[in-house]
Amino acid sequence: MEDDSRPLLASEQTGECSLRGSTDSLDIKVKRPFHVEPRNIVADDPQERVSAEAAILNSRVHYYSKLTGSSDRLLSPPNHVIPRPEEIYIYSPLGTAFKVTSSDQSSKNPSIITIFAIWNTMMGTSILSIPWGIKQAGFTMGILILIFTGLLLLYCCYIVLKSPKSIPYIDTSDWEFPDVCRYYFGKFGQWSSLFFSMVSLIGAMVVYWVLMSNFLFNSGQFIYSTISVLYLITLVTYKAFRLGFHLEFHWFDHTQFFVPEFRLQFPQLTGVLTLAFFIHNCIITLMKSNKNQENNVRDLSVAYLLVGLTYLYVGVLIFSAFPSPPLTKECIEPNFLDNFPSSDVMVFVARAFLLFQMITVYPLLGYLVRVQVMSQFFGNNYPSFFHVLLLNVFIVGAGVLTAMFYPNIGSIIRFSGATCGLALVFIFPALVHMISLHRQGTLTWPSAVFHSFLILLGMANLLAQFFM
């Protein structure tokens, strides 16, 4: 307690020294006010000084802030008046000044990087099921459906990307699509978008487990997912080159070795494609780091085009190169790698790449599921060891059971694709778009009809998975 009565500053004199104010000394050098030498401004260019505009703006902001209450934003500088982050310095009381790094720590990427990131993220294990899907729909119809579904999902992705911007008065800069759904549909929107997001994630994890249990290998290298896709493309090209093309066009009838060009099971392909082109739950975040935001739509379209071409390439080549006499096209497996013997070295390598991609991504998906589920149900990312253990047992258990009893990844993909696509691709984006247009008073009849039709398509897509 007696420590409290001692002056904080150590000095030789007695207690009265603490009462001597700054009027004591006339030595100006000692009484220098707070001052920063320009050379102490820590930046790349040590000669940098404060610009005249910044200095006067600083003066104004200081003065205006004294005229209102601290929480009053009447005289706060608007965004267009504040200098760019590169021109802002933070002064530390210790006498140095630091430059402000960009407030959002994400770096800005040129278009090509953004396009590549989208392509990379979208390109998933559904690529393995595309040839099977084309077989289910018929060759010609399959190609047409692939193109049509790609365009449709591109449009839905575009309205998802646009959706936070048409929300007035609120800062939506760090919102993702589920936040938009919560804004328009309240708790119901939040929970349902979470649920459908989980469907896609858990569906992907189940597929991964099934595939991993099929690809058994041990090696010691970490491979980026892009390489596995590129390798697949190379593999497909090589096989097609080796096997040659085996195509015969029978429009509506089944033959011994070929399938019709147009088949009634085409919804199975649309289900697969809904998951194959699915990126709607994270497109906003991916696009945020695009350097030129005005090119977002263009870059998104280019990414979709590239993804579509990749799928088309793999699907068409595998389908065409499948040696139809002696085999029938019906044999094309939902995972086309299963059509090759396990002794085939190239396919073995492909399986290895994919296995390692999946082993590394599986825990990441598990993390995403855990964070979203736990924070929604319990408000905490890691409520307790047992909560997380239970969740993981559930997910892995689902994967194991499916691998044991129903390892048809084509079906898993198409059902989970159609389900989560129903909400996150068709219903929510279309509804959100229509509501925002309606609130602005610009909803036209053709637009309302078109977007309602989108919703119907989504529902038909899901229903058809059960019946076709």
């Binding site: 200095a55 006067i56 003066s59 104004r60 003065y63 205006y64 004294k66 005229l67 009053d72 005289l75």
Partner: protein, 315 residues
């Protein structure tokens, strides 16, 4: 200035939300309490109780865009409002979507001025210009200025484009104050003489309530073009702090090895700031010079004051 029985007014008018309260707060260093940023229009005139340029009282009115109650009140009180007006400052929001209506209200104010205070000076401020893109500002302002000048005939109006986020607000109000001071040219000549006699680097004359620069003299080029506004902001902040202690600001001396600056009361309407870059001249000398000059300038302010020449200097 000899005052009449009624105080002369400065009317600050404009549509609700055009920025008058913020402008007044910034220029006159008035605290804006949160409640005054109200949801509706000003119900009654907001008096500023500021002695502006001696004996002028600032009245703030919302003009136009109100309901019929306000319309009637405005119409019935019209003559009261527009009598004894020295200055009308009309604020236009550059972003307003009802240009026709704004012009209409402006014209009716002008009519009232013509009837009640035909000698009043009229100033138009096109405000919130920071919301316009930089390359379009000149164009838009010229357009508005032409319209306003045409509409204001036979009265002459002076137009300024302003924004609280750049130097245009301060400069516009400085120009307004400059035009309101009688014999201002004489003041400037005397200021120059004074500065040269005491060998000052720079001498500034500020209006007392707002610290707007009325006149200045500098003997060489200065680097910072925004220094007037900065000084004004600093002193107004200091005044705000002083007022919290029920103290009032009178004078200030700032000195280091390179210069000495003195800010002091000068005449009844003005403050003076003297900057000496010769540190060998003691403060006392400069302060005596300022005191002597004060008497001389006060006589100038009185319209019929005799002329004196300054010939005193101490080393």
């Amino acid at each position: 200035m000899s005052g009449s029985a009624m105080k002369k007014k400065v009317l600050l008018m404009g549509k609700s939300g055009s920025g008058k309260t913020s402008m007044r707060s910034i220029i006159f260093a008035n605290y804006i309490a949160r409640d005054t940023r109200r949801l509706g229009a000003t119900i009654d005139v907001e008096h500023s109780h500021v002695r502006f340029l001696g004996n002028l009282v600032l009245n703030l009115w919302d003009c136009g865009g109100q309901d019929t109650f306000m319309e009637n009140y405005f119409t019935s009180q019209r003559d009261n409002i527009f009598r004894n007006v020295e200055v009308l400052i009309y604020v236009f929001d550059v972003e307003s979507r009802e240009l026709e209506k704004d012009m209409h209200y402006y014209q009716s104010c002008l009519e009232a001025i013509l009837q009640n205070s035909p000698d009043a000076k009229v100033f138009c401020l096109v405000h919130k210009m920071d919301l316009v893109q930089e390359d379009q500002r000149d164009l838009i302002f010229k357009e508005r200025e032409e319209d306003l000048k045409r509409l204001s005939r036979p009265l002459a109006c002076t137009c300024f484009r302003t924004s609280i986020w750049d130097e245009t607000l301060y400069k516009a109000w400085s120009s307004i104050v400059y035009q309101l001071i009688p014999n201002v040219q004489q003041l400037e000549t005397n200021l120059r003489n004074f500065a040269q006699i005491i060998e000052a680097d720079e001498v500034l004359l500020f209006e007392r309530a707002t610290f707007l620069v009325i006149s200045h003299y500098q003997c060489k080029e200065q680097r910072d073009a925004h220094r007037f506004e900065k000084i004004s902001n600093i002193i107004k902040q200091f005044k705000l702090s002083c007022s919290k202690l029920a103290a009032s600001f009178q004078s200030m001396e700032v000195r280091n090895s390179n210069f000495a600056a003195f800010i002091d009361v000068f005449t009844s309407n003005t403050y003076v700031m003297v900057i000496m870059s010769d540190p060998s001249i003691p403060s006392a000398a400069t302060l005596i010079n300022i005191r002597n000059a004060r008497k001389h300038f006060e006589k100038l302010e009185r319209v019929d004051g005799p002329k004196h020449s300054l010939h005193m200097r101490m080393r």
